[in-house]
Amino acid sequence: MADALATITRRDGFGMVTIRADLDRSGDAIAEAAGLAIPGVTRITSDGSRSLGWMSPDELLLILPAAETGAAIAALTGALTGEHALVVDVSDARAVFDLTGPHAGDVIAKLSPADLDALPADGLRRSRAAQTAAAFWRIEGGFRLIGFRSTAQYLDLILRNAALPGSQLAPR
């Protein structure tokens, strides 16, 4: 039996913070508090440990080691004092999967209508995986995909089904 198209790994240990603010007014303050540059539209910036993703014109998602979450929320809240903004912990609302291997993109292409050829190296795509919301971006050797916690088992199932050995998309 051939290998699965990608290795599917459920990941723990991430903290996630939703930041809503006027990114033009508060971008610098957020960047300094988060320790990362503000990403361009549909992009994600990363320093290897933390990542900051563009979610909408007034929303960012900070992903960081779980232990740093409290301090990051405090820093962001402090930095945005006096501004109209919302900083909330969404760490527990999410499920995270890493898809790695030479055909990881095939797994995404079976589940999401996003065009991966059009996803730059630092692109973050909010989309869906089959019937549930998901977002993904590139990591070393594949993709990281986040979805809602309540659908974690469904995501795990459909990701593994899509990675069925021998089912790569290349023409045969």
């Binding site: 039996m1 919302l86 095939d106 079976k110 999401s112 065009d115 089959a130 998309l169």
Partner: protein, 976 residues
């Protein structure tokens, strides 16, 4: 027939591997085919021309075509869950050990009893069913329909679940080319040179289309193109991939066969591609048309192109002695190829007065007799062609001679495959010269920018001569819709148009005489083109016959609508992975697994599963509900309320935003307090409810119903983004961030005080409708003193990842108190005992808060809120609107939920008048009697009156109107 010598030719067959024999069984006979054979070619090689029986008359039928358009040679393939009806023998690869069933015959293909329908065929003209089975009325339901249903349908449905896997995949491309023939590959090369991604789809396993068969240098030309394309990194060539439908904005569906030939290899059997293309090129070729002459359905009458396909592709002779009948030059190829392969070509019957093209000259040079101005009056033979009787094409069918033969290769010209072009709005034009509909380049399907996004090319565009110079010298095709031209009824009633549905020239003419002028109506009346082949061969011939019958030009008649899929698509491929556990996302709370371990009986709530109750050994789910309720009322229970929507709303304008969303005031709510609120739609109808907590000076947390979380969040964002875009408000849906546990019952406080914590739970520190933040059992928590049960109740929100921990700590700590998990049904009953409404029970999208006695939750001070204006309209303020009341059953039985209270008299439609209906109805274990809530006209003014509720059984139950609050009217239990 059993011991017929092989019809496999000694030479030729570009698709077969003569070294690899494949044994298979057909109708009890052991046969042999070759690797590369289709089922049809393998059967023909064994002399088995008869492959099925027709649907209506059960006439013997052989293959007509060699490809996807085949109407006759259909089999049920596979067994059990892998059984598939109506599989075309011409496109099904022969497999070792194949199991197949003949269709439309009983007891066997050879001796079929239903063929008696054929002898009775004069009794089954077009519209027979419509005319015959009308009276008496009751006979339709009880006699005619069951009998027709039993005998109707091509093939039968499988009875077992499909054991195979299927999947979907998305593709994006600048250009998708449908069709891997000479035109498609050439168009792909042009597109690839221009840049951008190019995807080429070929429906079959072999590239090249007709070119390798029809041109001596064809194979080389195809291979050169494939080599060129294969070297281009921007080109993807995908075989076995049938484009089934084209939809708006360049959205193309295609089915890739991955393991049809070997479903046991563990990969998906088929894959449905969902392709977005900027430009679609249809290079789908053309289909050869049959000719309408009497007995044109006898096995052995085939399309001329199919005859040469079987010879050249599979090295199979469909017969020994051939007659070609045609109205064009192309069919002469079949004669030449057949002769070269060693078959005897008895004659070419050409309906045209003259045949002087290169191919005709070549035929004459090869000593093949050519009879011009001639047609076939009738085919001789029943189960197999024995010969033809020919006549003058321009006459009425008087015989001019007879020719013995066992194959008739017919060609009525070619029709471009315009299906994809037509699926999403491309228009066709009538091409007089070639007698065909072809895509109108001036009216293509349009993309989002209003520009055409589909181009037809090659034969699919009507360029039947795209493959080479030879065709350029061909003589013109002469339209022939009836052979001979003035055939009498006796002949026309044996000329098949639609071979699958047994529709003949005479049926379409009858329809025209009966007043069917529209081609769409004629189609449905006669069933022309309504079988699984969707009229691929019959459509043009049928509408041409209709046009002649109506004495109008063909373009005026027009075509029927081309609809996807091009060839049938199995439902399993459409469902793909969405079956079994992956059918739908099943949302699980952080405490889901505990519920499962503790015997939860589940209730689906949206995509969530919530425990309905937790039956113990010896209990059914209802007994468990009663036990759970009493446990909460007398002690303490826990409910997993994690599914409740939790939306944070923050900003300088958040207060006034919430004042607009809710019917009551939220801006005045003090920090630290909670308030119950109602949300209405613009039309005034109640759409959600829940408790709002004010977190800080500028932030609120809004609880919604379980089903309302995403919907209400979307509702908020809709108003913020589209209407009040200048208001400074941010929202975030935190539903999944928190696990929420309701701890309810008189012992709730005592239980919580056993857990280490930093929050003062006393009545003074945390009174009803307040919240506090701190730690419970070492877990960061927010506790809300809110109650849906009427008992002392704390709802504790903790980070979702800690929810199970808290739940288990509560159950450890409360073990000796008899702590009891309770489910949604206990929650429902307890709220009904308290007279609390439930969205979806007391509301159904037509109910306003005023109907439910919730006027107290509607602010009179506010200038506006969503729904306010609607609620002031006359029919909303009508005092005769049904109002919420309680109901007491008179005989101690539960009145069924949804039962209607009848009123005196009847309405204008003769229906009994109604004056109310039951919205919730339960047995209350707390009160040990039935309780119900109902909406009743003038209800609150009618306390004590008795209403009649007739049941479907005819029995009438009675209920007395009462106050909807059945339990603890004073509310003393809220504080323990």
């Amino acid at each position: 027939m059993t011991h017929t010598p092989s019809f496999r030719l000694a030479r030729g067959g570009r698709l077969i591997d003569r070294a690899r024999q494949i044994p298979f069984r057909f109708d009890g006979r052991h046969l042999r085919g070759l690797q590369g054979d289709t089922l049809a070619s393998a059967l023909l090689a064994n002399g088995q021309m008869m492959m099925g029986r027709s649907f209506k008359y059960h006439r013997p039928r052989g293959p007509l075509a060699s490809g996807a358009e085949e109407p006759n040679a259909l089999f049920g393939l596979g067994q059990g869950g892998r059984f598939e009806p109506n599989q075309r023998a011409t496109t099904t690869a022969l497999l070792s050990g194949m199991v197949m069933q003949s269709q439309n015959c009983w007891p066997s293909l050879d001796a079929d009893i239903g063929a008696v329908n054929g002898w009775l065929s004069p009794m089954f003209p077009a519209g027979f069913y419509y005319k015959t089975f009308i009276h008496p009325r009751a006979f339709w339901k009880h006699l005619f329909e069951p009998v027709i249903r039993h005998s109707a349908g091509l093939g039968r449905a499988p009875s077992d679940p499909d054991p195979d896997r299927y999947e979907q995949a998305y593709a994006h491309t600048e250009t998708v080319v449908v069709g891997g023939g000479i035109a498609g590959l050439t168009a792909a090369r042009e597109a690839a040179r221009a840049g951008g991604r190019v995807l080429v789809l070929e429906q079959g396993p072999v590239w090249g289309g007709r070119t390798p068969v029809d041109h001596r240098d064809g194979q080389a030309r195809i291979e050169a193109l494939l080599a060129d394309l294969g070297a281009r990194p921007n080109v993807t060539l995908r075989r076995n991939c049938m484009a089934t439908g084209l939809y708006d904005h360049g959205y193309l569906l295609a089915r890739e066969a991955l393991a049809d030939h070997d479903p046991d290899q563990g990969i998906p059997r088929q894959r449905l591609w969902r392709i977005r293309a900027r430009q679609v090129v249809t290079a789908t070729g053309a289909l050869e048309r049959p000719l309408s002459f009497a007995m044109n359905d006898v096995p052995g009458v085939m399309l001329a192109s199919a005859v040469r396909d079987f010879i050249l592709d599979y090295g199979v002779a469909p017969g020994r002695r051939l007659v070609v009948v045609t109205n064009n030059d192309d069919a002469y190829r079949t004669a030449l190829i057949a002769q070269e392969a060693g078959l005897e070509v008895a004659a070419i019957i050409d309906a045209r007065p003259r045949a002087g093209g290169d191919l005709a000259q070549a035929a004459r040079a090869a000593n093949i007799p050519v009879l011009t101005g001639t047609g076939i009056a009738r085919v001789r033979g029943g189960r197999h062609v024995e010969g033809v009787i020919h006549c003058d094409q321009s006459g009425e069918g008087r015989p001019t001679g007879a020719i013995d033969c066992d194959v008739v290769a017919m060609s009525g010209g070619w029709s471009p495959v315009v299906h994809l072009y037509s699926h999403c709005g491309g228009k066709l034009i009538w091409d007089e010269a070639e007698a065909m509909f072809r895509p109108d380049p001036a009216r293509p399907p349009l993309g989002a920018d209003g520009q055409g996004n589909v181009t037809a090319t090659g034969a699919a565009n009507g360029d039947l001569r795209c493959a080479g110079d030879l065709e350029r010298a061909e003589d013109a095709t002469m339209p022939v819709w009836c052979m001979p031209q003035n055939a009498p009824y006796k002949l026309r009633s044996k000329m098949w148009l639609d071979f699958q549905n047994d529709v003949k020239v005479s049926d379409v003419q009858l329809a025209a005489r009966e007043g069917y002028a529209s081609v769409e109506h004629t189609k449905r009346y006669t069933t022309l083109g309504m079988a699984t082949d969707q009229g691929k061969l019959s459509n043009i011939n049928g509408l041409a016959v209709l046009s002649e019958a109506l004495s109008q030009p063909i373009p005026q008649t027009g075509t029927t609508t081309f609809r996807p899929p091009y060839t049938p698509l199995t439902l399993a491929t459409i469902a793909a992975d969405a079956r079994g556990d992956a059918f739908q996302p099943l949302r699980r709370t952080p405490i889901h697994d505990w519920h499962a371990r503790n015997g939860a009986a589940w209730e689906p709530v949206g995509q969530w599963r919530r425990p309905y109750s937790y039956p113990r050994a010896g209990e059914d789910r209802h007994a468990a509900v009663n036990r759970e309720i009493l446990a909460v009322r007398k002690g303490v229970g826990t409910l997993d309320a994690s599914t409740l929507g939790k939306i944070v709303v923050r900003g300088p304008d958040a207060g006034r935003f919430l004042d607009m969303l809710y019917t009551n005031m939220m801006s005045t709510l003090p920090v630290g307090k909670c308030r119950y609120g109602l949300m209405c739609s613009e039309n005034g109808f109640l759409m959600d409810d829940g408790v709002v907590a004010r977190l800080t000076e500028d932030s609120w947390l809004c609880h919604t119903t379980t089903g309302g979380a995403e919907r209400i969040h979307g509702h908020m964002e809709d108003w913020l983004q589209c209407e009040w875009w200048d208001w400074q408000v941010y929202t975030a849906n935190l539903t999944e961030q928190y696990a929420q546990i309701a701890v309810a019952g008189p012992k709730a406080r005592a239980l919580l005080e056993r857990l280490p914590g930093s929050i003062d739970l006393s009545q003074q520190a945390l009174p009803f409708m307040q919240w506090a933040e701190g730690e419970v059992a070492g877990i960061p928590a927010r506790i809300y003193r809110i109650s849906f049960s009427g008992e002392l109740s704390y709802e504790i929100a903790v980070p979702a990842g800690r929810g199970l921990d808290l739940w288990e700590r509560l159950h450890e700590a409360g073990h000796d108190m008899g702590i009891t998990p309770y489910g949604t049904e206990a929650m429902h009953v307890m709220r009904a005992e308290k007279g609390f409404i439930m969205i979806g029970d007391e509301t159904d999208g037509t109910i306003i808060p005023q109907d439910l006695g919730l006027g107290w939750a509607i602010s009179k001070k506010k200038a506006d809120y969503i729904g306010k204006r609607a609620q002031s309209r006359s029919f909303m303020t009508d005092r005769a609107r049904w109002q919420l009341v309680g109901l007491e059953s008179l005989d101690g039985r539960v009145i069924p939920d949804g039962a209607y209270a009848v009123d005196a008299g009847s309405n204008a439609n003769g229906q009994r008048k109604m004056q109310g209906r039951v919205t919730s109805s339960y047995h209350s274990p707390t009160l040990d009697r039935p309780i119900a809530m109902a909406l009743v006209r003038h209800g609150p003014e009618r306390m004590g009156q008795v209403l009649d509720f007739p049941l479907p059984s005819g029995e009438v139950m009675q209920g007395r109107i009462c106050d909807p609050v059945f339990y603890d009217r004073e509310g003393g239990r809220l504080n323990g």
